[in-house]
Symmetry: C2
Subunit: 626 residues, 2 copies
């Protein structure tokens, strides 16, 4: 049965006492440090991390995907963004101060440290889990105020974490051309072409999804993200891969990587243990000729970055692999389309089931999430979920990255808005979809908010824009209808989506934040997910995954060409939630066209799979607005 | 009579030969340099510059407001942005390569230099006219490719410029409370408050408009910009002003600055000759206590910035004066409103006159510009123009910052679109307005483009957005209607406007460029000027100056409050150019409301001034659309 109790905070008094003790303990550090920074990431700057890397959660209790904790002798503070304000405040006890990023009054980590630290303080951080660019700016800011940032080689959280899990080493999946469209050999050659263009001799690959994409391999070391712990160093004639050696005993992997009979010398992969990347990179650097440059992402770990002498280092905000991976090839696009059709089948079945079950009064956030996973798992090539399902009733919907737990689990009812944001990994693609529905009669205000969010969703989805436009220029389209009424949402509008890879990926996105995103290109895939949240009451979000496609326009200024989006997600948007009076004629046509497409494409598949309930539901939910 | 000949390019063969000679001449430089950078600015990073500082124009012929020339032993290239592509290509001879900034294929200055320079080259630049932040990034890029950026103390253009004009020293105007709303003493105290908040002991003021605003003084050293050459160094208890000593002989200025009987010791101004800023700053720096920090804008000259030891330097992207100046106080807002009413009177008279004169076939771009200036000069407190009038017929309108010259001057006719972008300095405010009109029958395509531009103009002007929103987030609103049809314009949508100060000012604006603009605040004043340009055919732009004001919204999410714009410009938009079928109902209402406001406010003033022709024209041009 559902209860209404809030998430209980983690009690951290004793942990903070222990951490402050090791911050002064010469066993771990040469000189006491006055503050210790606990970033959220792992050594690969992953967004989702393995249990052994959940150090920030361990120390403060907050388990959202983004956040940095800082502990000083007197204070403990956590910085996170608007998606997580409510969740973080519920998961942390009162030893912690929540720093709400993006609000004017919130100090930056640097400013806060400077305001609380005694003179000439030392601030420690594990150099393996802080990105080189963050190290640089933090170090500079602290230095300018008379403090210093020091690399603490032993992780101090690990020192107090008694039952810390081991680093996982799961079985690897090899992907053939049918799924990837390109062999890893061709990807290496294309990469070397980019390197040659820029006169780069080496490239240190640290991002797990880039390594998985490059070698057409997948793993399950990190929940939801089909990646595996590895590094790679790619030279113009050599390939060094760093993974747990046990993984290479698998004949399928050996065959895939041509470990036993390489076809060409320059495509021979040398394998090394995961941990030896540091010493091997040192060896490569020691042998560099004076002018030889090495690429490394400026978000790679400070520890690894600093191995490369400055004169040889070319730190780049996005790697060529990140860009190549973002622009999906026709095979990947086809795979993503198939994955979204299967995913839509599962969701049609889910909503059909829900509409019957709701009356029993026993359906909870958790049971819907479980049912959704069950239905998805019946689809071909299902691997797992792509992120923890956000299944939220009423006020829980206002916790933007909510995840139902037994103690927060609410029962679905006819009186509250229900929001489900979920997705899956299939071998042919990754999905991510949010629908917000009401099983009874939504209030006028709920409908009004939903309609503004829908108008924003359509404004982005139907936007036509010139080639070369960056995603952040589209963000305000998603907000204009909300802004007009004094409403808004405190998160970005869209993120890149991988193909059987991370559900969040760079280098493109749609956000009000000014970041160095790359221009949108045909073949890129992003999400379109405006929302609106009323704390303590409800949350609304409408999310489709959309593909960037060329647009036909009446004119073609300076021959630049235009782009627009094609929705890959094909799940009806609940008409009951729409105040159609607030829609323009163009918006009504968009909704009807979208629903016709859902019916045509997903209907065929529901029929093929003999899923009568889902098909009936789909037919009913895709009736045109008049 | 008008002719159709294009602007003739400046012949630069001999000048380039001379420049390349001095680049190797040990009289000016210790070691030969392989490239010389000629930035567009003066020592104050002014956008508009005095004739003595027009070095980039001198060397290449291009006289637009933005552009950087680089001369190597073999090449000569000029970088400028989309506003100036056509103009630059017409003003430069074929010794010069035009580098079109913002196009994907155009290399950055750094990349280009690296691609053309021999190994280990030296690139020279005058450290007084390159901004510190530009020096830093250029120097870093060159160093990474094995070259070096060197400061050449003697300006090499000055070395070959025989009849270079003297630096001007015009009479200063003192502004009383009636115009400024705040005494300079109160401004100094407010500034010191900001300095104290950030523990800053000194602030080196280098921007001419900041100095003019701070001291409530104006000059006319630079055409169109009512500023004067000066520096200031503000301490917590001292004020050092660097200006040509002759200017301080004027009793009104002495009285205004309280030079002879200062009211308080900490508000006593010490005056120094303009040129002594370098040595005086050295003296101040030599006396700094260890922790004392000094503010300087990161766009200040490299020469002056480097006087401040790094440990004491706090380089900031926008100074507190820049921000304080941007948010107009009630007196300044009232002044700006009055200035715009007077300006509208002049323009109503101009258009009334034009509609009669056009039939004579003798009205030219230059004669309209002259007439506009004459009519403006009849208005109270007129000082001069705020920028060179862009008066352009047909194809000349596609040159975004066109300025009619005898050799390009076209006659207005019934067959071509006419665009006039003009503005003035009045003692109470600065104006900047663009109207595009047709005296005969515009083509369907011209009307279609005009209507898309108008839709973009309205989308920005009527936008409602939360407090804290940065201007760049509004840029796409101005483009959406154009983008939908595959059209666009290659310039930003709006810039800050000073109050009897520079017509372009920071730190806010509306642009697709991702720059660190400050959030819009009530009291800020910006332009709203989307356009569309067809090379060789016509140009369209609709520009109002608008004031940021609080907006009333139905809801108020998180109590952030909302903002919108109020047009200060009150000149009718030509209805004949609008395809009203393309307007939404909301847009039609906006146009009618705007025209009613023009009629009410400007009508009264036209009547008061007895300007019957202008009034008749205004009444006719403000008829509502049905």
């Amino acid at each position: 049965m559902a209860t209404d109790t809030a998430m209980s905070p983690k009690i951290t008094v004793e942990l903070l006492r222990q951490l402050r003790q090791v911050m002064r303990n010469s066993k771990y550090i040469t000189e006491p440090i006055q503050a210790y920074i606990i970033p959220s990431g792992d050594a690969h700057q992953s967004e989702y991390i393995a249990p052994c890397d959940c150090r920030r959660e361990f120390i403060c209790g907050f388990n959202g995907s983004a956040g940095t904790a800082i502990v000083t002798e007197q204070h403990a503070a956590l910085w996170t963004d608007g998606r997580y304000f409510l969740q973080a405040s519920q998961q942390m006890d009162n030893n912690w101060t929540l720093m709400k990023m993006g609000l004017k009054e919130t100090p930056s980590q640097e400013d806060w440290l400077i305001s609380v630290l005694p003179e000439n303080s030392k601030v420690g951080v594990d150099p393996w889990i802080i990105a080189a660019d963050q190290w640089k700016s933090m170090s500079k800011a602290l230095r300018s105020a008379g403090h210093s940032l020091v690399a603490v080689q032993d992780n101090l959280i690990d020192a107090i974490w008694e039952d810390r899990p081991h680093r996982p080493s799961t079985k690897l999946i090899t992907l053939g051309l049918k799924y990837t469209g390109l062999t890893w050999q061709d990807k290496i050659l294309a990469l070397r072409g980019k390197m040659a263009e820029r006169k780069i001799f080496w490239f240190v690959v640290t991002a797990l999804d880039e390594i998985a994409w490059l070698f057409n391999l997948r793993g399950s070391d990190i929940e939801y993200n089909p990646v595996f712990f590895a590094y790679a160093i790619i030279g113009m004639s050599s390939i060094k891969l760093f993974v747990d050696s046990k993984r290479l005993l698998d004949p399928a992997v050996r065959e895939h990587l041509e470990l036993d009979r390489p076809s060409k010398p320059e495509l021979t992969i040398q394998c090394f243990p995961y941990e030896s990347v540091y010493t091997e990179l040192q060896a490569v650097c020691a042998a560099l000729a004076p002018k030889e440059k090495m690429w490394i992402c400026d978000k790679a770990s400070c520890a690894l970055t600093q191995v490369i002498p400055k004169a040889h280092r070319s730190a780049i905000p996005y790697t060529p692999l990140c860009l190549a991976k973002a622009v999906k090839n026709p095979t990947e696009i086809q795979g993503m389309k198939m994955a979204h059709i299967k995913d839509a089948v599962a969701l049609c079945e889910l909503f059909a089931w829900l509409e019957k079950e709701i009356y029993k009064g026993t359906v909870t956030e958790i049971s819907v999430a479980d049912k959704a996973e069950e239905l998805r798992s019946q689809q071909k090539d299902f691997v797992g979920l792509s992120f923890p399902t956000i299944s939220s009733v009423g006020p829980n919907g206002a916790i933007i990255h909510y995840r139902p737990l037994p103690e927060t689990n609410r029962t679905l009812s006819l009186n509250e808005v229900y929001l489900i944001d979920s997705g899956a990994q299939y071998i042919d693609g990754t999905t991510d979809v949010t629908r917000t529905v009401h099983f009874g009669t939504p209030s006028d205000y709920e409908k009004e908010c939903f309609t503004y969010v829908l108008k924003g969703h359509i404004a982005v989805s139907a936007a036509v824009f010139p080639n070369g436009t960056k995603g952040h220029l589209l963000d305000s389209f998603a907000r204009a209808a909300l802004w007009d009424s004094g409403l808004d949402y405190l998160h970005g509008t869209g993120h890149g989506v991988g193909c059987f890879l991370n559900v969040h990926e760079g280098p493109c996105g749609i956000s009000y934040k000014t970041f160095a995103d790359e221009p949108l290109e045909a073949g890129m895939i992003v999400s379109d997910e405006p929302g609106h949240y009323e704390d303590g009451s409800f949350g609304i979000r409408i999310e489709n995954v959309v593909l960037v496609v060329p647009a036909k326009t009446k004119y073609n200024y300076r021959n630049r060409g235009s782009l627009t989006f094609e929705p890959l997600t094909l799940v009806p948007i609940q008409l009951k939630m729409i105040n159609t009076d607030l829609l323009t004629q163009k918006e009504r046509v968009w909704v009807n066209d979208y629903h016709r497409k859902c019916l045509e494409i997903v209907g065929v598949e529901l029929e093929r799979q003999g899923r009568k309930d889902g098909l009936d539901w789909l037919i009913r939910e895709t009736q045109p607005i008049v």
